[in-house]
């Protein structure tokens, strides 16, 4: 492949990937073919994205322009290291999710397959275009396409009221965000999207500080809505569980980071000069968001809702890293800014892998058991041993345990925080350690939440839902791919950090951090701190081997199953006596319960007491807005009598008034 043709290749491939939308409409094709072909096309596109993404990370930017339907507005595309990196993320998640989808939709009917295969390729292609877009027009069209197609994907699994509400909420918030972006682009291009619409041109135009601040606020609103930033997060825990698992994986692993891409592209590249408070604002919002999300994630009893809140928490962490990088960049501490930015980008990559792995895993659980409600599950490790093992790797990565990838990025972020004393501002020097403590709290609670996820669903004994079968071969293959990279990225973080320096060079005026060796991670200097994941891996492997051998040698090789010791009482220990998901997180609820309004309902003695923790933002933020909107609509509807003569009267009076004004 000629390197300069990379971009065109991706564009043509992304168009070709829309083929399944036509394919499903052919009645003669057997359903099995449609399913495999339909998703394999996306698999192929995603493989190409991975290749091109890796290639683009170290290559100069490529440009392409395709004439559009409107004469003055061409489709413009650019492939540079930044978009290359996010293409790589999208490709990896898309590859696994599409493989998984072949197995996931195995039992679906023809009509369900149609419902998936129409929007699914569009969704992937739209994300590719968003990442490659080089002018506002292309970006916004692709952005809208992404929102619309994913809305339809949320409704694939059924159209009950809850899903419809989730889809509606998602679409609403996505559109509010898109509107903010539209205004931001209009401001950036000085109101002329036709001649100043390209990102390159926008970066050359200078904006007054006021305009820059407004654009910053608008993009924060627009991308924050997609990112699940604090007041705009409500769609996230609703939409993710409603969508089919491969789609949840794509939404969480690939679509949320696209908002990060947008922030980097627009607030970083196009708006170079920023106010001092931008970085701290990102950091603060990210921290609040992460703390809120991680707490709620630990309290959930639905597997995918838990993961959805955890995605929100990860996006918060990423925004913290970006904010920190911005703070450093503001003080011209470029290497530190590069370090924080790399930590954030690394987290994007890691999150894509472990979160999609867990989403796909819960999809397989849903298939095998028919439920995702943790109070019904349990003991899946026996009926689905391979899925359980793969999910375990994802758990370790998410919890940030050493040899895996989650640890590497969180460690980098904390290293960046530890360098805060080099800042000149005393205020920031004092606040940043607090923020670092907040980050540590977030990662700790995240580990708690994910232990609950695994412990309740996979360990112990089955509560009421029993897994009927192990996940299919496609599903296991996709999860194995993701798990493998969770390990590889964790063991060779130096390589990742090295390739990410191209992006920091692009965004931070050529500043990079020191070249890393393959096995060790030394962000600043070897004297200060370095991390050798290989040593951890060896140590862990050795200790496991030793313990295993010892146990084997001491207790023999046969596995003995015995009844649970019941402290001498003649009690029947059924599966219901295990810790329930609500019970598991009860201590956390006690600690933070003051700030949460809980709804308890007692369902008779002996049964579990379901505790509902409503999102405080519903009552405090969304409902007032909804009431205001409905009130305004009611006021307008007073004009609507349904009488034709009064409608005519309105236009007549309007005409007269206009004639008087513009005479």
């Amino acid at each position: 492949m000629n390197s300069s043709d990379c971009l065109l290749w991706v564009l043509y491939a992304s168009l070709l990937a829309l083929l399944p939308t036509v394919l499903v409409a052919i009645p003669a094709l057997p359903i099995r073919w449609k399913r495999s072909l339909g998703f394999l096309v996306t698999v192929a596109l995603c493989l190409l994205l991975i290749v091109v993404g890796i290639h683009a990370l170290a290559s100069p930017a490529l440009h392409a322009s395709i004439p559009g339907p409107l004469t003055d507005l061409a489709w413009q595309f650019t492939l540079d290291p930044l978009s290359g990196f996010f293409l790589l993320v999208l490709g990896s998640v898309g590859f696994a999710a599409s493989l998984h989808a072949i197995g996931y939709f195995h039992h679906g009917s023809q009509s369900k397959l149609k419902q998936v295969l129409l929007p699914y390729p569009v969704f992937v292609t739209a994300m590719v275009w968003v990442l490659l877009a080089a002018n506002a027009y292309t970006f916004l069209v692709a952005w809208e396409l992404m929102a619309l197609s994913s809305t339809f994907l949320i409704l694939v699994e059924g159209q009950d009221q809850r899903r419809q509400q989730a889809a509606y909420l998602y679409l609403l918030i996505a559109h509010i965000g898109a509107l903010a972006l539209f205004v931001a682009f209009a401001l950036l291009s000085h109101g002329d999207l036709i001649s100043n619409g390209s990102f390159q041109r926008m970066a050359q135009l200078s904006s007054s500080p006021l305009v820059a601040n407004v654009v910053f606020g608008l993009t924060l609103l627009g991308f924050g809505a997609k990112l699940g930033l604090l007041p705009l997060h409500a769609w996230l825990p609703e939409a993710h569980p409603a969508a089919p698992s491969p789609v949840s994986a794509l939404m969480s692993g690939a679509m949320l980071p696209i908002a990060v891409y947008g922030l980097l592209r627009i607030d970083w590249q196009i708006l170079p000069a920023g106010a001092v408070w931008w970085g701290p604002l990102w950091l603060g919002l990210g921290l609040c968001s992460a703390l809120f999300a991680v707490l709620y994630s630990a309290l959930q009893t639905d597997m995918k809702r838990l993961l959805a809140y955890s995605s929100m928490e990860n996006m918060g962490l990423i925004l913290i890293a970006l904010g920190l990088s911005r703070i450093f960049a503001e003080q011209n501490l470029w290497p530190l800014a590069a370090l924080a930015l790399i930590a954030g980008l690394f987290q994007v990559l890691n999150h894509a892998f472990f979160k999609s792995l867990l989403f796909l895993g819960s999809g397989s659980v849903l298939h095998a058991t028919g439920t995702l409600e943790m109070s019904h599950l349990g003991g899946l490790i026996r009926s689905m041993p391979q899925t359980a093992f793969l999910a375990l790797i994802g758990i370790f990565a998410l919890a940030g345990l050493p040899p895996l990838n989650g640890f590497a990025s969180e460690w980098l972020l904390l290293q960046a925080f530890l360098l805060a004393p080099s800042l000149p501002s005393g205020m920031l020097r004092a606040i940043l350690p607090l923020a670092a403590a907040g980050v540590v709290l977030v990662t700790a609670v995240a580990a708690f939440a994910i232990v609950k996820f695994y412990g309740i669903a996979f360990l112990g004994r089955a509560r009421s839902a029993v897994a009927k079968h192990e996940a299919g071969i496609w599903e296991r293959a996709s999860m194995a791919f993701l798990a493998l990279f969770c390990v590889l990225l964790g063991v060779f973080p130096g390589r990742v950090v090295d390739s990410l320096s191209h992006i920091t060079a692009l965004l931070l005026h050529g500043s990079q951090i020191a070249h890393q060796s393959a096995l060790a991670l030394t962000p600043i200097s070897a004297q200060r701190a370095s991390y050798l994941p290989g040593v951890f891996l060896l140590g862990i492997a050795l200790s496991i081997a030793v313990v295993f051998v010892l146990v084997w040698w001491r207790f023999g090789r046969s596995l003995r199953r015995a009844p649970v010791w019941s402290c001498g009482f003649a009690a029947d220990y059924s599966a219901q006596t295990q810790d329930s998901p609500t019970g598991f997180s009860q201590p956390l609820l006690r600690i933070f319960g003051v700030s949460l309004s809980t709804l308890r309902s007692r369902q008779g003695l002996g049964n579990a007491i379901p505790v509902q923790i409503p999102d405080p933002f519903w009552k405090g933020f969304y409902l007032p807005w909804a009431r205001a909107a409905l009130g305004m609509a009611a006021m307008v509807s007073r004009l609507q009598h349904g009488r034709i003569t009064s409608y005519l009267l309105y236009s007549f009076l309007t005409l007269i008034v206009l004639l008087v004004i513009f005479r």
């Binding site: 009611a634 509807s637 609507q640 009598h641 349904g642 009488r643 034709i644 003569t645 005519l648 009267l649 007549f652 005409l655 007269i656 004639l659 008087v660 005479r663």
Partner: protein, 228 residues
């Protein structure tokens, strides 16, 4: 050449055009006052004929043969075809009797006079841009337009509303031909086609409304609206 012919004919033709314009306004007032559906359609047909004659006169004035074609088309469509279709609809739908009015006739007429004054005050400054032969025409056209609009507002039966709509179209047409000395034939044809299609759609609609509500009274349509 054209200038010459305008000078030659304007002495005779201009007063005739003015007379037609006044006649147009009178017809508009008559439409506003008329209660009976059959007479409304007849008045509409007269408007169409007036338009056709006006177009022909302008054609004579400017020496543009296209305007003669336009005059013939106007006569056949607006003077004959549309009134005939409306008449046919009236018979098929068996609508009879008076048109109910939301406002009584004298107040409507008074409002109409006010509208004419208003229209003239709006159009007067524009006369400077127009040929001398057509001074004041734009005001009349605008007045006729507003009067037709008022008629649509004050009527309740569907047929009288469509008559008002067509009268509005006539007024626009009058503004285009008489006040500004003709417009391109293609535009004219386009408008005529639009109106025809509108008429067909509305005709189909009439039958639907009658089948649903057993009446053509539009206040039944108010039930369709969404409840609060």
């Amino acid at each position: 050449m054209i200038m010459h012919s305008i000078l030659a004919h304007s002495a005779i033709i201009s007063p005739m055009l003015r007379f037609l314009a006044a006649w147009m306004l009178v017809l508009s007032f008559a439409l506003l006052a008329q209660r009976r559906l059959l007479s409304l359609i007849r008045l509409l047909a007269w408007q169409g004929v007036t338009l056709a004659v006006g177009t022909a006169l302008v054609g004579q004035l400017t020496g543009d043969p296209i305007l003669w074609v336009s005059a013939v088309l106007t006569l056949s469509i607006k003077g004959i075809l549309m009134p005939y279709v409306l008449h046919y609809l009236l018979r098929r739908l068996q609508v009879r009797g008076d048109v109910e009015m939301a406002l009584n006739v004298p107040s409507t007429q008074l409002l109409g006079i006010l509208l004419v004054v208003f229209a003239f005050s709006i159009a007067a400054p524009l006369d400077g841009y127009l040929p001398a032969a057509t001074h004041g025409m734009l005001g009349i056209a605008l007045a006729a337009f507003l009067l037709s609009f008022l008629m649509m507002i004050t009527r309740r039966k569907a047929i009288s509303q469509i008559v008002g709509f067509l009268a509005m179209d006539n007024a626009l047409f009058f503004a285009a031909t008489s006040a500004t000395l003709g417009m391109p034939l293609i535009v004219e044809l386009g408008i005529a086609l639009d109106t025809l299609i509108g008429l067909v759609v509305i005709g189909v609609f009439f039958f639907q409304i009658r089948d649903t509500f057993d009446s053509l009274d539009l206040h039944y349509l108010e039930h369709i609206r969404e409840d609060k």
